[in-house]
């Protein structure tokens, strides 16, 4: 990063201060090696910031005595960590076989239409919605399950989508 660029950018505000740092320290104590707290630490970052930036990865690396490269390798392995900012409501729709045969792809279409997100992975113009397909949410008996942020919603059908979206909007 050039010096000029650095001067323009907002300085990075660390996540792990105050209560968040206390929480992390409590988590670190659960593992015989500090690095064990990496996944939980990344969850804390995402909870605080909505996504995990390169700067945040560097911070996590420093706090847990590992390297930013290792943290990045981990972040890119697990699909639930966001490497970019996402909509206020992040919707994950299961479209793997069992839900697929029960109409999951129609639920995806309805969600895209209702939220205004143009395509999978894109955020709606109002910045509120990002819809993605995910592989098996582990609720195959309740097709189609979706996750809106941390809300797990079962038995979603296309006709239920408008109400569901309205509730969040």
């Amino acid at each position: 990063m050039s010096a000029a660029h650095a001067a323009e950018a907002e300085p990075y505000q660390p996540v792990f201060v105050g209560k968040t740092l206390d929480r992390l320290n409590e988590i670190i104590a659960r593992y015989p090696a500090k690095q064990g707290a990496l996944l939980p630490a990344l969850w804390l970052v995402q909870e605080a910031r909505g996504w995990i930036s390169d700067d945040a990865m560097a911070e996590v690396a420093a706090v847990l005595d590992t390297t930013a490269a290792h943290v990045k390798g981990v972040v890119t392995f697990y699909t639930m960590y966001h490497q970019h900012p996402v909509g206020k409501y992040f919707v994950q729709v299961c479209t793997t076989s069992c839900c697929n045969i029960c109409g999951a792809e129609d639920v995806v279409k309805a969600l895209l239409q209702e939220t205004g997100a143009k395509e999978l992975g894109a955020t709606s113009p109002d910045g509120k919605w990002t819809v993605i397909e995910v592989e098996c949410l582990g609720a195959c008996g309740f097709p189609t399950p979706i996750l809106v942020n941390d809300d797990f919603i079962e038995n979603v059908t296309p006709d239920k989508v408008p109400d569901l979206v309205r509730k969040y909007r």
Binding site: F77, T96, N100, G138
Partner: protein, 426 residues
């Protein structure tokens, strides 16, 4: 039958007794239902005696491999030279399987109790319960239950921690799960060393599935003889098992039956059978990684490790995916291949490249651009992806392709010859 259905009279309700009962989630409610008595009893026993009891019960791992649980526990070092760990595999993500989720949602204390008993048996001080990242509700329920149980100090010297995954199917593989707990990419490890020698954080470790551990308190409480007596067919498969039934079925959900129960009764009686006007075409009996059964094979299949093997598939995790005659087997097999391609950890060549290539060939067939020789290519590729990698994800991708082409070849050919219109754009 678990939530949201009422139990069916033919079920043997052990693990699912309190599914749908919110009070059972609380510590008080669980104690009122006889909870934590088994733990108390086990903690007063010699760890070896606990292991023997489980060994005698015939309990086998419910995660998919079906390895005898008590025997697994005996692999831990006889002489304790440092910390031992127990890892609980609550990373349920095999398509078609949703039993562990229900156990955690409704009977979190059953899992905690089983976890503590197992930890005692293998002389582990610490147990990590690795819960799938997507399981937000089970996570909340388990967190609450653990706090209550800790407050009541029921675990003796055993400490239980919850560890949240973050979206990786492969972390359900035991060595990948251990890497994930260590804060690494969820890459499966080459064996040896086996976990009982060098597991999580390099220390002796046992990994058990949620359903396995949830059965343990019942075995301790009621005795191994009782559990062993729950057997309808092969004496090598004992106890009850939850089967998650989904797909083209009237009443999807979890059913709990004694080992050896006929699959056709589960489908036609307990789960309400096919939708009106539809007939059964195929069934995947043990989660998406096992061979597909035809209608005939399904109707003859008995649900235990030996019975399903005899029918030509595997009991696996007990995820029963039902396809009726409206199902497009080619499209669904493509979806499964895509799933495995998405989840491949990228270590082994056959898996990294093979799962993606399989998906591409399947997609091309669905786009009407396939050739007859693609079927041989798929079979050869699948053979190349079988039995050659660190873990079995690659095999799991190959299995439905092989059984699909073998048993539903005409559906593939219809796309290739143009008899069926393309459903994808390639």
């Amino acid at each position: 039958m678990g939530y949201p259905q009422k139990p069916h009279p033919k079920e043997t309700v052990v693990l699912s007794e309190y599914f749908g009962d919110p009070e059972a989630r609380t510590f008080k409610g669980w104690v009122k239902r006889g909870g934590y008595e088994a733990l108390k009893k086990a903690l007063a026993m010699d760890p070896n005696a606990v292991t023997d009891e489980v060994k005698n019960s015939g309990l086998r791992g419910r995660g998919g491999a079906g390895f005898p649980t008590g025997l697994k526990w005996t692999f831990m070092p006889k002489e304790k030279r440092g910390p031992h760990y127990l890892c609980v595999n609550a990373d349920e993500s095999e398509p078609g399987t949703f039993k562990d989720r229900e156990i955690m949602r409704w009977t979190p204390h059953a899992l905690l109790e089983g976890t503590a008993i197992a930890a005692h048996a293998i002389r582990a001080e610490v147990a990590y319960i690795y819960i799938r990242g997507e399981f937000t509700e089970p996570w909340t329920v388990m967190t609450q239950a653990l706090a209550e149980a800790n407050a009541a100090k029921v675990f003796g010297n055993i400490t239980i921690h919850l560890h949240r995954g973050a979206g990786a199917y492969i972390c359900g593989e035991e060595t990948a799960l251990m890497n994930s707990i260590e804060g690494k990419r969820g890459n499966p490890r080459i064996k040896p060393p086996f976990p009982a020698v060098a597991g999580v954080f390099g220390k002796p470790t046992t990994i058990n599935n949620v359903e396995t551990l949830a059965a343990v308190p019942h075995i301790i409480k009621r005795g191994s003889a009782w559990y062993k007596g729950l057997c309808l067919s092969s004496p090598k498969s004992t106890g009850t098992k939850l089967f998650s039934v989904c797909g083209h079925i009237q009443k999807p959900g979890n059913v709990e039956v004694t080992m050896g129960f006929p699959l056709k009764d589960v489908i036609y009686e307990m789960c309400g059978g096919m939708r009106p006007g539809r007939t059964l075409k195929a069934c995947i009996p043990g989660g998406s990684s096992v061979p597909i059964l035809t209608k005939d094979e399904t109707e003859k299949c008995l649900l235990d490790y030996e019975g399903v093997a005899e029918a030509g598939s595997l009991l696996g995790s007990g995820g029963v995916i039902v396809f009726d005659d409206s199902a497009d087997m080619v499209y669904q097999i493509m979806r499964l291949a895509r799933f495995y391609a998405h989840e491949s950890c990228a270590q082994c060549t056959q898996c990294r490249e093979g799962t993606a290539w399989t998906t591409k060939i399947m997609e091309r067939i669905l786009a009407g651009k396939g050739q007859m020789k693609d079927l041989d290519l798929l079979l050869d590729l699948s053979e190349n992806m079988t039995g050659k990698t660190i873990c079995v994800l690659s095999d799991s991708c190959a299995t439905p392709v092989i059984s699909g082409i073998k048993k539903f070849r005409s559906e593939f050919e219809d796309y290739i010859t143009g008899k069926k219109r393309p459903v994808m754009v390639a």
